[in-house]
Amino acid sequence: MSNDPNFTGAGGPTTEELVFDAKEAQRRRKPSTMQRVGDHMKREWQLYVMLVPTILWLVIFLYKPMYGLQIAFKDYSIFRGVANSPWIGLEHFQTLFGNDQFIRALRNTIIISFYGLIFGFPMPILLALMFNEILKQTFKKTAQTIVYLPHFVSSVIIAGIVITAFSPSAGIVNTFLGALGVDPIYFLTKPEWFRPIFVGTGIWQEAGFQSIVYLAAIAGVSPTLYESAVVDGASRWQMMWKITLPSILPTIIIMLIIRIGNMLEVSFEMIILLYQPATYETADVVNTFIYRQGIQGGQYDLAAAAGLFNAVVAFVLVMTANAISKRYSRTSLW
């Protein structure tokens, strides 16, 4: 999920445009709108040839499905198609909110996101602060190269590693527990273990890579601040707390806002790979619910309704987050 509050500012007339318009007005006393558009197209048609494929793609693959979202309010049948299926109003939404599984999925989504936020958000900040304190460049570079790596590894591979490592018979985790005298635990079938494993895996995979943003913010802190602190006899620890951390606070706050805006974006691909019926109780989120009901179960209309609910809440969250971060900082990240 990404967004760009700056972009609305990009469309106004530029100096070139104004100068151009002035010239145009001089050349022809009173050009009609038709003439102007015609002339413009004659001169600039190539730009539109470049733009059309992209816009067409967006219309066919992303906007047409938005039109298809109407099945959330319809009794959809494959044979009748989207347009001809009969309207049934809010029936699917009533069904959803009376459905224990959907409510459970909603609750799980929020709980898992919340854990991800509490445990996952501070980690990259901490890492960036620590990386910044390392003076040995080779050590720093090597460590960074390694901790960025899991970001580029597919969720299937990560899931494969998790499943292997937590396997009851051969897994390394149970081997260690066995050495401590604990009986093997079949972690991935235990509902109480799902969230810690899932959230922990997410942190392991992404914390390193996410620290890049904070490292960039730290790199932007003025060196004169540190120089005068050294003159005053500040220790590295004091400089970290009194200079570095306050200097990157705006970045931290913006990242936090973006993160909360994307609250509903739980990486459901990973959940599909790791969960099983025994752990649905704690693992099933809205998107996995949609996947099972819709794509696997064929209840397209009901699943589309769940998807619409998800998308609208996400949209409101993202827009709110955008508005807040824009107000908070003019030098927005976007």
Binding site: E44, L58, I60, I212, A304, G307, A314, F315, L333
Partner: protein
């Protein structure tokens, strides 16, 4: 004291990142018996390459590997063909309705119709179970367009003036002036595409039924999820030279190697890209 503590902690975190990969690599080169018994901790036990022999003798492994290359290369080229000209046009101030077109692009990043309408649309377009569906259906994304558009906007007008004097048209200006100046940004976008293509599995799993068309990640999932649930198969391999664990580990190693090969480029451009376009969550 502080400095040493810090280095120790970073070192520990780094090792904990690295360890699972070493563990998997060692597992893939151990005998199935030792792996099942949980004797592999750091280095291979009872060194053998039987698991690799098993993996490499599977035709589906090779066809899925081939398919992943097709989807990655075809998909990335397709993405660039759409994104570069589109971003260029959107960066031009004289474009009519520029604000509106930018909104059309950006809105897709904020609001998404969701899994089901997208799936039904692909079905209605006849793109289920087809190479073309995977290659074209995921070609464009708003974030990449805006990243590139911002980069193009940052290139000063003066660079293209000489070319325009020589009578270059828009396509020539893009090709001869903008493309060479935008190499890092284009490389970033291309790498975003390559990685998401190489790693993508969900839609390939949903859209492709025909086993001959599935990419590596879907094949890998089949092996990991289906075999690890299959206790009978697992125990039948108990004494063999390979086991479910070692075979899984071997496939993981095989599928991770190409990512490791391009990793130096990834590291260089991704950190640039993440700062160029803002933060991608």
């Amino acid at each position: 004291m502080f400095v040493i503590m810090n280095m120790v902690l970073i070192g520990l975190f780094t090792l904990s990142t690295l360890y699972p990969f070493i563990y998997i690599a060692s597992l893939s080169m151990s005998t199935g018996f030792e792996a099942r018994a949980g004797n592999v901790i750091l280095t291979p036990v009872g060194f053998t390459l039987e698991a690799y022999k098993q993996v490499l003798s599977e035709p589906l492994f090779w066809s899925s590997y081939m398919n992943t290359f097709i989807y990655t290369i075809g998909g990335t080229i397709m993405s660039l063909l759409f994104i570069i000209p589109g971003a260029y046009a959107l960066s031009k101030p004289q474009l009519y309705g520029r604000r509106f077109w930018n909104l059309v692009v950006a809105f897709t990043m904020w609001f998404n119709a969701g899994l089901i309408p997208f799936f039904l649309n692909m079905r209605d377009l006849g793109l289920l179970d087809s190479y073309l569906g995977i290659i074209i259906g995921f070609a464009v994304n708003g974030f990449n367009i805006i990243l590139l558009r911002n980069f193009f906007e940052g290139i000063p007008q003066s660079f293209e003036e000489a070319a325009r004097m020589d009578g270059a048209n828009e396509f020539q200006v893009l090709w001869k002036v903008y493309m060479p100046l935008s190499k890092p940004a284009i490389a970033t976008v291309a790498l975003f595409c390559i990685v998401s293509r190489w790693n993508g599995f969900f839609w390939a799993m949903v859209l492709l039924q025909d086993e001959e068309k599935i990419p590596l990640q879907v094949y890998l999932r089949k092996v990991i999820v289906e075999l690890s649930d299959d206790e009978e198969f697992a125990t039948s391999l108990l004494t063999a030279a390979y086991s479910v664990e070692t075979v899984t580990a071997a496939i993981i190693v095989c599928s991770i190697i190409p990512i490791l090969l391009i990793y130096p480029f990834l590291q260089k451009y991704f950190s640039k890209g993440i700062l160029l376009g803002g933060v991608k969550e």
